[in-house]
Amino acid sequence: MRPLMLQGHERAITQIRYNREGDLLFTVAKDATPNVWYTINGERLGTYDGHRGTVWSVDVNWDSTKVLTGAADLSCKLWDCETGKVINTWDTKSSVRSSNFSYCGNMINFTTDRQMKHEPKICIYDIREPSDSEPALSFVIDTKEMSKPMCSLWGALNEYLITGHDDGTMAHWDLKVGGELLHSVREHTALIKDMQLSSDQMMLITASKDKTAKLFDAPSLNLMKTYKTDRPVNSAAISPIRDHVVLGGGQEAMDVTTSNLKEGKFDARFFHLVFEEEFGRVKGHFGPINSLAFHPNGNSYSSGGEDGFVRVHQFDESYFDFQFEC
Protein backbone atom coordinates (compact mmCIF):
# COMPACT_ATOMS: atom_id res chain seq x y z
CA MET A 1 0.00 0.00 0.00
CA ARG A 2 1.11 3.54 -0.64
CA PRO A 3 -0.21 5.69 2.19
CA LEU A 4 -1.29 9.27 1.63
CA MET A 5 0.66 11.65 3.83
CA LEU A 6 -1.37 14.63 4.96
CA GLN A 7 0.85 17.50 5.89
CA GLY A 8 -1.49 20.16 7.16
CA HIS A 9 -0.24 20.52 10.69
CA GLU A 10 2.87 22.14 12.04
CA ARG A 11 2.89 20.24 15.31
CA ALA A 12 2.05 16.87 16.79
CA ILE A 13 -1.34 15.41 15.89
CA THR A 14 -3.63 15.01 18.89
CA GLN A 15 -6.69 13.34 17.43
CA ILE A 16 -8.11 12.17 14.12
CA ARG A 17 -11.68 11.20 13.41
CA TYR A 18 -13.64 9.98 10.38
CA ASN A 19 -17.19 11.07 9.72
CA ARG A 20 -19.95 8.48 9.47
CA GLU A 21 -19.59 7.79 5.75
CA GLY A 22 -15.82 7.95 5.96
CA ASP A 23 -15.41 10.41 3.10
CA LEU A 24 -13.99 13.07 5.41
CA LEU A 25 -11.17 12.88 7.92
CA PHE A 26 -10.88 15.48 10.66
CA THR A 27 -7.49 16.08 12.21
CA VAL A 28 -6.46 18.28 15.11
CA ALA A 29 -3.00 18.96 16.41
CA LYS A 30 -1.03 20.97 18.90
CA ASP A 31 -1.19 23.85 16.46
CA ALA A 32 -4.42 25.84 16.53
CA THR A 33 -5.99 24.81 13.22
CA PRO A 34 -8.22 21.79 12.82
CA ASN A 35 -8.12 20.37 9.27
CA VAL A 36 -10.61 18.39 7.23
CA TRP A 37 -9.55 16.14 4.35
CA TYR A 38 -11.14 14.04 1.65
CA THR A 39 -10.07 10.50 2.39
CA ILE A 40 -10.39 9.42 -1.23
CA ASN A 41 -7.39 11.39 -2.50
CA GLY A 42 -5.99 13.20 0.51
CA GLU A 43 -7.16 16.58 -0.72
CA ARG A 44 -7.63 19.16 2.02
CA LEU A 45 -11.16 20.54 2.05
CA GLY A 46 -10.46 23.26 4.55
CA THR A 47 -9.29 24.43 7.91
CA TYR A 48 -11.24 25.70 10.89
CA ASP A 49 -9.51 28.92 11.88
CA GLY A 50 -10.22 30.48 15.24
CA HIS A 51 -8.54 28.59 18.05
CA ARG A 52 -5.49 30.06 19.71
CA GLY A 53 -3.93 27.03 21.34
CA THR A 54 -3.49 23.28 21.21
CA VAL A 55 -6.63 21.57 20.00
CA TRP A 56 -7.04 18.38 22.01
CA SER A 57 -10.11 16.81 20.49
CA VAL A 58 -12.42 16.83 17.51
CA ASP A 59 -15.73 15.23 16.68
CA VAL A 60 -18.25 15.43 13.88
CA ASN A 61 -21.97 14.79 14.08
CA TRP A 62 -23.64 11.94 12.24
CA ASP A 63 -24.77 13.91 9.19
CA SER A 64 -21.44 15.76 8.91
CA THR A 65 -22.95 19.22 9.23
CA LYS A 66 -21.23 20.31 12.44
CA VAL A 67 -17.79 19.88 13.94
CA LEU A 68 -16.88 20.19 17.60
CA THR A 69 -13.38 20.96 18.83
CA GLY A 70 -12.01 21.30 22.33
CA ALA A 71 -8.85 23.29 22.85
CA ALA A 72 -6.35 24.42 25.43
CA ASP A 73 -7.22 28.08 24.75
CA LEU A 74 -10.03 27.66 27.29
CA SER A 75 -12.73 27.14 24.73
CA CYS A 76 -14.81 24.55 22.98
CA LYS A 77 -16.04 25.54 19.53
CA LEU A 78 -18.86 24.36 17.33
CA TRP A 79 -18.22 24.84 13.59
CA ASP A 80 -20.17 24.63 10.40
CA CYS A 81 -18.54 21.60 8.81
CA GLU A 82 -18.96 22.78 5.23
CA THR A 83 -17.86 26.41 5.48
CA GLY A 84 -15.49 26.45 8.45
CA LYS A 85 -17.41 29.21 10.25
CA VAL A 86 -17.83 29.24 14.02
CA ILE A 87 -21.39 28.59 15.15
CA ASN A 88 -20.80 28.78 18.87
CA THR A 89 -17.99 29.10 21.38
CA TRP A 90 -18.18 27.93 24.96
CA ASP A 91 -15.57 29.55 27.18
CA THR A 92 -14.23 27.46 30.02
CA LYS A 93 -12.09 28.05 33.08
CA SER A 94 -9.51 25.45 32.12
CA SER A 95 -8.52 23.74 28.88
CA VAL A 96 -10.94 21.37 27.18
CA ARG A 97 -9.52 17.87 26.97
CA SER A 98 -12.22 15.85 25.24
CA SER A 99 -15.39 16.72 23.35
CA ASN A 100 -18.03 14.57 21.71
CA PHE A 101 -21.34 14.70 19.93
CA SER A 102 -24.01 12.37 21.18
CA TYR A 103 -25.16 9.75 18.70
CA CYS A 104 -28.18 11.87 17.73
CA GLY A 105 -26.05 14.95 17.24
CA ASN A 106 -28.32 17.13 19.38
CA MET A 107 -26.21 17.05 22.51
CA ILE A 108 -22.53 17.66 23.07
CA ASN A 109 -20.29 17.02 26.02
CA PHE A 110 -16.85 18.25 26.90
CA THR A 111 -14.53 17.69 29.82
CA THR A 112 -12.07 20.21 31.19
CA ASP A 113 -8.70 19.78 32.85
CA ARG A 114 -7.62 20.40 36.37
CA GLN A 115 -5.71 23.63 35.95
CA MET A 116 -5.17 26.94 37.69
CA LYS A 117 -6.97 25.74 40.81
CA HIS A 118 -10.05 24.79 38.82
CA GLU A 119 -11.37 21.33 39.36
CA PRO A 120 -12.15 19.21 36.27
CA LYS A 121 -15.66 19.65 34.99
CA ILE A 122 -17.95 17.73 32.69
CA CYS A 123 -20.40 19.87 30.70
CA ILE A 124 -23.33 18.78 28.57
CA TYR A 125 -25.08 21.19 26.23
CA ASP A 126 -28.10 20.87 24.02
CA ILE A 127 -27.01 22.60 20.81
CA ARG A 128 -30.61 23.19 19.73
CA GLU A 129 -30.91 25.73 22.55
CA PRO A 130 -29.83 29.37 22.01
CA SER A 131 -26.07 29.72 22.02
CA ASP A 132 -25.84 31.63 25.31
CA SER A 133 -28.01 29.26 27.32
CA GLU A 134 -26.93 27.39 30.41
CA PRO A 135 -25.59 23.86 30.12
CA ALA A 136 -28.14 21.10 30.17
CA LEU A 137 -26.00 19.49 32.82
CA SER A 138 -22.63 20.20 34.31
CA PHE A 139 -20.85 18.75 37.28
CA VAL A 140 -17.45 19.01 38.89
CA ILE A 141 -15.29 15.99 39.58
CA ASP A 142 -13.80 16.10 43.05
CA THR A 143 -10.13 15.32 42.53
CA LYS A 144 -9.83 14.13 46.11
CA GLU A 145 -11.89 11.15 45.10
CA MET A 146 -11.13 10.78 41.44
CA SER A 147 -8.44 12.00 39.06
CA LYS A 148 -9.12 14.19 36.06
CA PRO A 149 -10.83 12.74 33.00
CA MET A 150 -8.66 12.38 29.89
CA CYS A 151 -11.26 11.10 27.45
CA SER A 152 -15.01 10.68 27.33
CA LEU A 153 -17.69 8.91 25.31
CA TRP A 154 -21.45 8.93 25.17
CA GLY A 155 -23.06 5.72 26.37
CA ALA A 156 -26.03 4.02 24.76
CA LEU A 157 -29.19 6.15 24.36
CA ASN A 158 -27.42 9.14 25.94
CA GLU A 159 -28.22 7.66 29.33
CA TYR A 160 -24.71 7.77 30.67
CA LEU A 161 -21.28 9.14 29.93
CA ILE A 162 -18.12 7.03 29.98
CA THR A 163 -14.91 8.69 31.11
CA GLY A 164 -11.32 7.47 31.20
CA HIS A 165 -9.12 9.04 33.85
CA ASP A 166 -5.57 10.09 34.59
CA ASP A 167 -4.98 7.24 37.05
CA GLY A 168 -6.41 4.48 34.87
CA THR A 169 -9.93 4.55 36.28
CA MET A 170 -12.97 4.36 34.05
CA ALA A 171 -16.35 5.58 35.17
CA HIS A 172 -19.99 5.74 34.16
CA TRP A 173 -21.85 8.95 34.94
CA ASP A 174 -25.61 8.98 34.99
CA LEU A 175 -27.06 11.71 32.78
CA LYS A 176 -30.74 11.17 33.50
CA VAL A 177 -30.64 12.13 37.15
CA GLY A 178 -27.76 14.56 36.95
CA GLY A 179 -24.16 13.61 37.06
CA GLU A 180 -24.23 10.82 39.59
CA LEU A 181 -21.34 8.38 39.55
CA LEU A 182 -22.91 5.05 38.60
CA HIS A 183 -19.85 2.87 38.92
CA SER A 184 -16.16 2.90 38.22
CA VAL A 185 -13.49 0.31 37.51
CA ARG A 186 -9.76 0.56 37.65
CA GLU A 187 -8.26 -1.97 35.28
CA HIS A 188 -5.41 0.21 34.05
CA THR A 189 -2.51 1.28 36.20
CA ALA A 190 -1.71 4.46 34.29
CA LEU A 191 -3.32 7.26 32.35
CA ILE A 192 -5.95 6.33 29.77
CA LYS A 193 -5.10 8.20 26.60
CA ASP A 194 -7.92 7.17 24.33
CA MET A 195 -11.20 5.29 24.25
CA GLN A 196 -13.06 4.24 21.12
CA LEU A 197 -16.32 2.40 20.67
CA SER A 198 -16.85 -0.50 18.31
CA SER A 199 -19.14 0.18 15.35
CA ASP A 200 -22.13 -1.32 17.18
CA GLN A 201 -21.24 0.68 20.33
CA MET A 202 -21.32 -2.42 22.51
CA MET A 203 -17.60 -2.63 23.16
CA LEU A 204 -14.99 -0.04 23.83
CA ILE A 205 -11.24 -0.22 23.62
CA THR A 206 -8.95 1.80 25.83
CA ALA A 207 -5.36 2.80 25.23
CA SER A 208 -3.22 3.39 28.26
CA LYS A 209 0.24 4.48 29.22
CA ASP A 210 0.61 1.24 31.20
CA LYS A 211 1.55 -0.36 27.82
CA THR A 212 -1.71 -2.17 27.35
CA ALA A 213 -4.95 -1.67 25.49
CA LYS A 214 -8.05 -3.27 26.94
CA LEU A 215 -11.40 -4.24 25.56
CA PHE A 216 -14.45 -3.59 27.71
CA ASP A 217 -18.12 -4.28 27.51
CA ALA A 218 -19.39 -0.70 27.21
CA PRO A 219 -22.62 -0.96 29.26
CA SER A 220 -21.04 -2.80 32.21
CA LEU A 221 -17.34 -1.87 31.92
CA ASN A 222 -16.46 -5.53 32.36
CA LEU A 223 -12.94 -6.24 31.20
CA MET A 224 -12.97 -8.68 28.29
CA LYS A 225 -9.56 -8.67 26.62
CA THR A 226 -6.09 -7.27 27.19
CA TYR A 227 -3.59 -6.46 24.45
CA LYS A 228 -0.08 -6.23 25.81
CA THR A 229 2.75 -4.33 24.16
CA ASP A 230 6.18 -3.14 25.21
CA ARG A 231 5.49 0.56 24.84
CA PRO A 232 2.92 3.10 26.00
CA VAL A 233 -0.24 2.85 23.91
CA ASN A 234 -1.65 6.18 22.79
CA SER A 235 -4.58 5.07 20.72
CA ALA A 236 -6.49 1.95 19.80
CA ALA A 237 -9.33 1.23 17.42
CA ILE A 238 -11.59 -1.73 16.63
CA SER A 239 -12.05 -2.82 13.01
CA PRO A 240 -15.67 -2.47 11.91
CA ILE A 241 -15.51 -5.55 9.66
CA ARG A 242 -12.98 -7.99 11.06
CA ASP A 243 -11.99 -9.24 14.49
CA HIS A 244 -8.98 -6.98 14.55
CA VAL A 245 -7.81 -4.12 16.69
CA VAL A 246 -5.03 -1.70 15.87
CA LEU A 247 -2.81 -0.17 18.53
CA GLY A 248 -0.60 2.85 18.10
CA GLY A 249 1.93 4.31 20.44
CA GLY A 250 5.61 4.39 21.07
CA GLN A 251 7.91 5.77 23.62
CA GLU A 252 7.20 9.29 24.72
CA ALA A 253 8.44 12.10 22.55
CA MET A 254 10.70 13.35 25.31
CA ASP A 255 12.51 10.01 25.47
CA VAL A 256 13.06 9.62 21.74
CA THR A 257 16.40 11.37 21.59
CA THR A 258 17.86 9.19 24.28
CA SER A 259 17.38 5.89 22.52
CA ASN A 260 18.18 4.10 19.29
CA LEU A 261 16.02 4.91 16.28
CA LYS A 262 15.30 1.27 15.62
CA GLU A 263 13.96 0.85 19.11
CA GLY A 264 11.52 3.66 18.61
CA LYS A 265 8.80 1.18 17.81
CA PHE A 266 6.50 3.66 16.19
CA ASP A 267 4.65 1.16 14.05
CA ALA A 268 0.94 0.51 14.20
CA ARG A 269 0.34 -2.95 15.59
CA PHE A 270 -2.57 -5.14 14.62
CA PHE A 271 -3.93 -7.64 17.13
CA HIS A 272 -6.59 -10.27 16.86
CA LEU A 273 -9.59 -9.10 18.84
CA VAL A 274 -10.33 -12.43 20.49
CA PHE A 275 -6.97 -14.19 20.74
CA GLU A 276 -5.12 -11.07 21.92
CA GLU A 277 -2.22 -11.92 19.67
CA GLU A 278 -0.33 -9.57 17.45
CA PHE A 279 -0.29 -10.53 13.79
CA GLY A 280 0.82 -7.51 11.81
CA ARG A 281 2.72 -4.25 11.90
CA VAL A 282 2.79 -1.21 9.68
CA LYS A 283 5.73 1.17 9.81
CA GLY A 284 5.87 4.73 8.68
CA HIS A 285 5.81 7.34 11.41
CA PHE A 286 8.91 9.05 12.71
CA GLY A 287 7.40 9.56 16.12
CA PRO A 288 4.85 7.90 18.37
CA ILE A 289 1.37 7.49 16.95
CA ASN A 290 -1.03 9.70 18.89
CA SER A 291 -4.32 8.82 17.28
CA LEU A 292 -5.68 6.01 15.14
CA ALA A 293 -8.98 5.44 13.42
CA PHE A 294 -10.48 2.81 11.15
CA HIS A 295 -12.42 3.93 8.11
CA PRO A 296 -16.09 3.04 8.73
CA ASN A 297 -15.97 0.55 5.84
CA GLY A 298 -12.95 -1.18 7.38
CA ASN A 299 -10.89 -1.06 4.17
CA SER A 300 -8.49 1.59 5.34
CA TYR A 301 -7.18 3.17 8.48
CA SER A 302 -5.41 6.38 9.37
CA SER A 303 -2.88 7.34 11.96
CA GLY A 304 -1.70 10.69 13.24
CA GLY A 305 1.66 10.95 14.91
CA GLU A 306 3.82 13.09 17.07
CA ASP A 307 5.74 13.84 13.85
CA GLY A 308 2.81 15.97 12.66
CA PHE A 309 1.87 13.73 9.75
CA VAL A 310 -1.39 11.95 9.18
CA ARG A 311 -1.07 8.79 7.12
CA VAL A 312 -4.06 7.30 5.35
CA HIS A 313 -3.50 3.61 4.62
CA GLN A 314 -5.57 1.63 2.17
CA PHE A 315 -5.28 -2.05 3.07
CA ASP A 316 -4.07 -4.22 0.25
CA GLU A 317 -5.06 -7.73 -0.58
CA SER A 318 -2.62 -9.42 1.75
CA TYR A 319 -4.52 -7.96 4.71
CA PHE A 320 -7.85 -9.29 3.53
CA ASP A 321 -6.36 -12.65 2.55
CA PHE A 322 -4.77 -13.02 5.94
CA GLN A 323 -6.27 -15.73 8.09
CA PHE A 324 -5.34 -15.92 11.73
CA GLU A 325 -3.89 -19.28 12.68
CA CYS A 326 -4.53 -20.40 16.18
Binding site: M5, G42, R44, G46, E277, G280, R281, V282
Partner: protein, 272 residues
Protein backbone atom coordinates in the same frame (compact mmCIF):
# COMPACT_ATOMS: atom_id res chain seq x y z
CA UNK B 1 4.72 15.93 -23.07
CA UNK B 2 5.03 13.22 -25.63
CA UNK B 3 2.58 10.43 -26.13
CA UNK B 4 4.56 7.82 -24.24
CA UNK B 5 4.59 9.89 -21.10
CA UNK B 6 0.92 10.64 -21.41
CA UNK B 7 0.14 6.96 -21.42
CA UNK B 8 2.09 6.31 -18.25
CA UNK B 9 0.93 9.19 -16.11
CA UNK B 10 -1.71 8.86 -13.46
CA UNK B 11 -2.88 11.13 -10.71
CA UNK B 12 -0.80 9.17 -8.25
CA UNK B 13 2.41 9.60 -10.19
CA UNK B 14 2.64 13.12 -11.24
CA UNK B 15 4.73 13.42 -14.32
CA UNK B 16 6.79 16.52 -14.11
CA UNK B 17 8.27 17.73 -17.29
CA UNK B 18 10.51 20.68 -17.19
CA UNK B 19 11.49 22.46 -20.32
CA UNK B 20 12.49 26.02 -20.97
CA UNK B 21 10.01 28.24 -22.69
CA UNK B 22 10.51 31.61 -24.28
CA UNK B 23 8.26 34.59 -23.61
CA UNK B 24 6.41 35.90 -20.57
CA UNK B 25 4.86 33.70 -17.94
CA UNK B 26 1.46 32.57 -19.18
CA UNK B 27 -1.14 31.84 -16.51
CA UNK B 28 -1.77 28.39 -15.15
CA UNK B 29 -4.05 26.43 -17.43
CA UNK B 30 -6.03 23.25 -17.06
CA UNK B 31 -7.52 21.05 -19.71
CA UNK B 32 -9.42 17.81 -19.46
CA UNK B 33 -9.28 15.27 -22.24
CA UNK B 34 -11.13 12.05 -21.55
CA UNK B 35 -10.18 10.97 -18.04
CA UNK B 36 -6.82 12.74 -18.06
CA UNK B 37 -6.57 16.20 -16.62
CA UNK B 38 -3.53 18.22 -17.66
CA UNK B 39 -2.33 21.16 -15.60
CA UNK B 40 0.25 23.39 -17.24
CA UNK B 41 2.12 25.82 -15.03
CA UNK B 42 4.91 28.21 -15.94
CA UNK B 43 7.39 29.37 -13.35
CA UNK B 44 10.97 30.47 -12.84
CA UNK B 45 13.38 27.90 -11.54
CA UNK B 46 16.45 28.46 -9.37
CA UNK B 47 18.55 29.57 -12.33
CA UNK B 48 15.95 32.20 -13.24
CA UNK B 49 14.93 30.23 -16.27
CA UNK B 50 11.32 29.88 -17.24
CA UNK B 51 10.12 26.35 -16.91
CA UNK B 52 6.93 24.73 -18.02
CA UNK B 53 5.57 22.19 -15.57
CA UNK B 54 3.06 19.74 -16.96
CA UNK B 55 1.19 17.58 -14.50
CA UNK B 56 -1.22 14.90 -15.52
CA UNK B 57 -3.91 13.43 -13.34
CA UNK B 58 -6.27 10.63 -14.04
CA UNK B 59 -9.83 11.42 -13.06
CA UNK B 60 -11.70 8.57 -11.47
CA UNK B 61 -15.44 8.40 -11.22
CA UNK B 62 -17.04 6.68 -8.28
CA UNK B 63 -20.64 6.19 -7.33
CA UNK B 64 -21.43 7.36 -3.83
CA UNK B 65 -24.36 8.48 -1.77
CA UNK B 66 -25.84 11.91 -2.39
CA UNK B 67 -24.46 13.38 0.81
CA UNK B 68 -20.92 12.29 -0.03
CA UNK B 69 -21.25 13.57 -3.58
CA UNK B 70 -22.54 16.86 -2.23
CA UNK B 71 -19.57 17.19 0.10
CA UNK B 72 -17.12 16.37 -2.68
CA UNK B 73 -18.27 19.49 -4.51
CA UNK B 74 -17.96 21.82 -1.52
CA UNK B 75 -16.01 25.01 -1.88
CA UNK B 76 -12.70 24.87 -0.06
CA UNK B 77 -12.33 27.11 2.96
CA UNK B 78 -9.84 28.30 5.54
CA UNK B 79 -6.22 27.87 4.56
CA UNK B 80 -7.26 25.76 1.59
CA UNK B 81 -9.59 28.38 0.11
CA UNK B 82 -7.12 29.26 -2.63
CA UNK B 83 -6.37 25.67 -3.58
CA UNK B 84 -7.52 24.41 -6.94
CA UNK B 85 -9.55 21.25 -7.20
CA UNK B 86 -7.47 18.14 -6.69
CA UNK B 87 -4.86 17.53 -4.02
CA UNK B 88 -2.47 20.36 -3.28
CA UNK B 89 1.06 19.06 -3.38
CA UNK B 90 2.02 21.21 -0.43
CA UNK B 91 -0.31 19.36 1.90
CA UNK B 92 -0.83 15.96 0.33
CA UNK B 93 2.04 13.63 -0.44
CA UNK B 94 1.94 10.10 -1.72
CA UNK B 95 4.45 8.36 0.45
CA UNK B 96 6.70 5.39 -0.07
CA UNK B 97 5.26 1.97 -0.43
CA UNK B 98 4.88 0.21 2.91
CA UNK B 99 3.69 -3.27 3.60
CA UNK B 100 2.08 -4.82 6.57
CA UNK B 101 4.56 -7.16 8.16
CA UNK B 102 2.86 -10.25 9.36
CA UNK B 103 4.39 -11.38 12.62
CA UNK B 104 3.69 -14.19 14.95
CA UNK B 105 4.28 -13.62 18.61
CA UNK B 106 4.59 -17.33 19.11
CA UNK B 107 7.44 -17.52 16.65
CA UNK B 108 9.17 -14.67 18.43
CA UNK B 109 8.79 -16.38 21.75
CA UNK B 110 10.26 -19.53 20.33
CA UNK B 111 13.14 -17.59 18.87
CA UNK B 112 13.98 -16.23 22.26
CA UNK B 113 14.02 -19.62 23.84
CA UNK B 114 16.97 -21.78 22.98
CA UNK B 115 15.71 -24.15 20.37
CA UNK B 116 16.27 -27.82 20.66
CA UNK B 117 18.98 -28.58 18.06
CA UNK B 118 17.43 -31.78 16.81
CA UNK B 119 14.03 -30.11 16.53
CA UNK B 120 15.36 -27.21 14.50
CA UNK B 121 17.23 -29.62 12.28
CA UNK B 122 14.08 -31.56 11.67
CA UNK B 123 12.12 -28.39 10.92
CA UNK B 124 14.74 -27.28 8.50
CA UNK B 125 14.56 -30.52 6.62
CA UNK B 126 10.80 -30.39 6.61
CA UNK B 127 10.83 -26.90 5.10
CA UNK B 128 13.06 -28.08 2.30
CA UNK B 129 10.99 -31.15 1.77
CA UNK B 130 7.77 -29.14 1.52
CA UNK B 131 9.31 -26.67 -0.85
CA UNK B 132 10.71 -29.20 -3.25
CA UNK B 133 7.66 -31.36 -3.08
CA UNK B 134 5.72 -28.48 -4.61
CA UNK B 135 8.15 -27.80 -7.39
CA UNK B 136 9.69 -31.15 -8.17
CA UNK B 137 7.37 -31.63 -11.09
CA UNK B 138 8.50 -28.51 -12.90
CA UNK B 139 12.11 -28.26 -11.83
CA UNK B 140 14.87 -29.63 -14.04
CA UNK B 141 15.73 -33.06 -12.81
CA UNK B 142 19.47 -32.80 -12.21
CA UNK B 143 18.97 -29.47 -10.38
CA UNK B 144 16.53 -31.05 -7.97
CA UNK B 145 18.76 -33.86 -6.97
CA UNK B 146 21.65 -31.53 -6.53
CA UNK B 147 19.60 -29.28 -4.32
CA UNK B 148 18.34 -32.13 -2.27
CA UNK B 149 21.84 -33.11 -1.41
CA UNK B 150 22.75 -29.58 -0.42
CA UNK B 151 20.41 -29.14 2.52
CA UNK B 152 21.66 -32.31 4.05
CA UNK B 153 25.16 -31.04 3.99
CA UNK B 154 24.05 -27.87 5.63
CA UNK B 155 22.02 -29.69 8.19
CA UNK B 156 25.06 -31.64 9.16
CA UNK B 157 26.47 -28.38 10.43
CA UNK B 158 23.12 -27.60 12.06
CA UNK B 159 22.12 -24.41 10.26
CA UNK B 160 19.24 -22.73 12.06
CA UNK B 161 16.10 -22.29 10.02
CA UNK B 162 15.14 -18.99 11.62
CA UNK B 163 17.08 -15.92 12.44
CA UNK B 164 18.97 -16.28 15.68
CA UNK B 165 20.88 -13.30 17.02
CA UNK B 166 24.64 -13.77 16.61
CA UNK B 167 25.11 -13.78 20.36
CA UNK B 168 22.82 -16.78 20.66
CA UNK B 169 24.21 -18.78 17.76
CA UNK B 170 25.76 -22.03 18.76
CA UNK B 171 28.97 -22.75 16.98
CA UNK B 172 29.46 -19.20 15.76
CA UNK B 173 31.42 -19.12 12.54
CA UNK B 174 31.18 -22.80 11.75
CA UNK B 175 27.48 -22.49 10.99
CA UNK B 176 27.83 -20.81 7.64
CA UNK B 177 31.22 -22.11 6.65
CA UNK B 178 29.78 -24.19 3.86
CA UNK B 179 28.09 -21.15 2.35
CA UNK B 180 29.67 -19.34 -0.54
CA UNK B 181 28.96 -15.98 1.04
CA UNK B 182 31.61 -14.96 3.52
CA UNK B 183 30.61 -14.54 7.10
CA UNK B 184 32.54 -11.30 7.28
CA UNK B 185 30.05 -9.24 5.30
CA UNK B 186 27.05 -10.00 7.40
CA UNK B 187 26.34 -6.31 7.65
CA UNK B 188 25.70 -6.06 3.95
CA UNK B 189 22.16 -6.23 2.70
CA UNK B 190 20.71 -9.65 2.18
CA UNK B 191 19.03 -8.56 -1.02
CA UNK B 192 18.62 -10.68 -4.10
CA UNK B 193 17.47 -9.76 -7.56
CA UNK B 194 15.06 -12.00 -9.41
CA UNK B 195 14.73 -11.50 -13.14
CA UNK B 196 12.86 -13.15 -15.99
CA UNK B 197 9.60 -13.17 -14.10
CA UNK B 198 6.40 -13.44 -16.05
CA UNK B 199 4.04 -10.50 -16.33
CA UNK B 200 1.37 -12.12 -14.22
CA UNK B 201 3.64 -12.54 -11.20
CA UNK B 202 2.33 -10.95 -8.03
CA UNK B 203 4.04 -10.06 -4.78
CA UNK B 204 2.15 -12.82 -3.04
CA UNK B 205 3.58 -15.36 -5.50
CA UNK B 206 7.08 -14.22 -4.68
CA UNK B 207 6.34 -14.38 -1.01
CA UNK B 208 5.21 -17.96 -1.39
CA UNK B 209 8.26 -18.81 -3.44
CA UNK B 210 10.87 -17.32 -1.12
CA UNK B 211 9.29 -17.76 2.27
CA UNK B 212 10.60 -21.32 2.72
CA UNK B 213 14.16 -20.02 2.76
CA UNK B 214 13.72 -17.76 5.71
CA UNK B 215 11.95 -14.64 6.99
CA UNK B 216 11.52 -11.94 4.38
CA UNK B 217 12.03 -8.31 5.16
CA UNK B 218 10.64 -6.77 2.03
CA UNK B 219 9.55 -7.67 -1.44
CA UNK B 220 9.76 -5.15 -4.21
CA UNK B 221 8.18 -6.16 -7.47
CA UNK B 222 8.70 -3.66 -10.28
CA UNK B 223 5.35 -2.93 -11.81
CA UNK B 224 4.17 -0.85 -14.69
CA UNK B 225 2.59 2.28 -13.31
CA UNK B 226 -0.24 2.17 -15.75
CA UNK B 227 -1.14 -1.46 -16.12
CA UNK B 228 0.04 -2.68 -12.71
CA UNK B 229 1.65 -5.61 -14.47
CA UNK B 230 5.00 -6.93 -13.44
CA UNK B 231 7.98 -5.57 -15.32
CA UNK B 232 9.73 -8.89 -14.98
CA UNK B 233 12.09 -8.29 -12.11
CA UNK B 234 11.91 -8.08 -8.35
CA UNK B 235 14.09 -7.51 -5.32
CA UNK B 236 13.76 -9.68 -2.24
CA UNK B 237 15.22 -8.59 1.08
CA UNK B 238 15.89 -11.34 3.53
CA UNK B 239 16.64 -10.75 7.15
CA UNK B 240 19.39 -13.26 6.95
CA UNK B 241 22.10 -13.29 4.34
CA UNK B 242 22.43 -17.04 4.57
CA UNK B 243 18.78 -17.44 3.70
CA UNK B 244 19.31 -15.23 0.69
CA UNK B 245 22.27 -17.34 -0.40
CA UNK B 246 20.19 -20.44 -0.08
CA UNK B 247 17.43 -18.86 -2.12
CA UNK B 248 19.82 -17.95 -4.89
CA UNK B 249 21.26 -21.42 -5.05
CA UNK B 250 17.87 -23.06 -5.08
CA UNK B 251 15.71 -20.82 -7.21
CA UNK B 252 18.20 -19.70 -9.87
CA UNK B 253 17.44 -21.58 -13.05
CA UNK B 254 14.11 -22.61 -11.69
CA UNK B 255 11.16 -23.04 -14.02
CA UNK B 256 8.41 -20.74 -12.83
CA UNK B 257 5.38 -19.82 -14.85
CA UNK B 258 6.90 -21.20 -18.09
CA UNK B 259 10.01 -19.00 -17.68
CA UNK B 260 13.36 -19.85 -16.18
CA UNK B 261 14.17 -17.60 -13.27
CA UNK B 262 17.46 -15.86 -12.91
CA UNK B 263 18.39 -15.04 -9.32
CA UNK B 264 21.48 -13.20 -8.17
CA UNK B 265 22.72 -10.82 -5.53
CA UNK B 266 21.27 -7.35 -5.93
CA UNK B 267 24.74 -5.84 -5.78
CA UNK B 268 27.92 -7.59 -6.78
CA UNK B 269 28.95 -7.58 -3.15
CA UNK B 270 30.47 -11.03 -2.79
CA UNK B 271 33.75 -11.23 -4.70
CA UNK B 272 33.81 -15.01 -4.74
Amino acid sequence: ADAADAAKSSWADQVEEEETVNGDLPPLSQSVVGDIKTVVEYKYNEDDKKVKVVRKYRIETQKTSKSVAHRKLLKKFGKSSNDLSGPNRATTIISEDVQMQFVSTREEEMMQEQEDPTLSKFKHQLQYYMFFKNFKATAPKDKTTEEERKPEEENASNAPSKYVPPSMRSGGNTVGSSMPSGRGNRDEQATIRVTNLSEETKESDLQELFKPFGPLQRIYLAKDKHTQQSKGFAFINFYNRDDAAKAIKSVCGFGYDHLILNVEWAKPSTPS
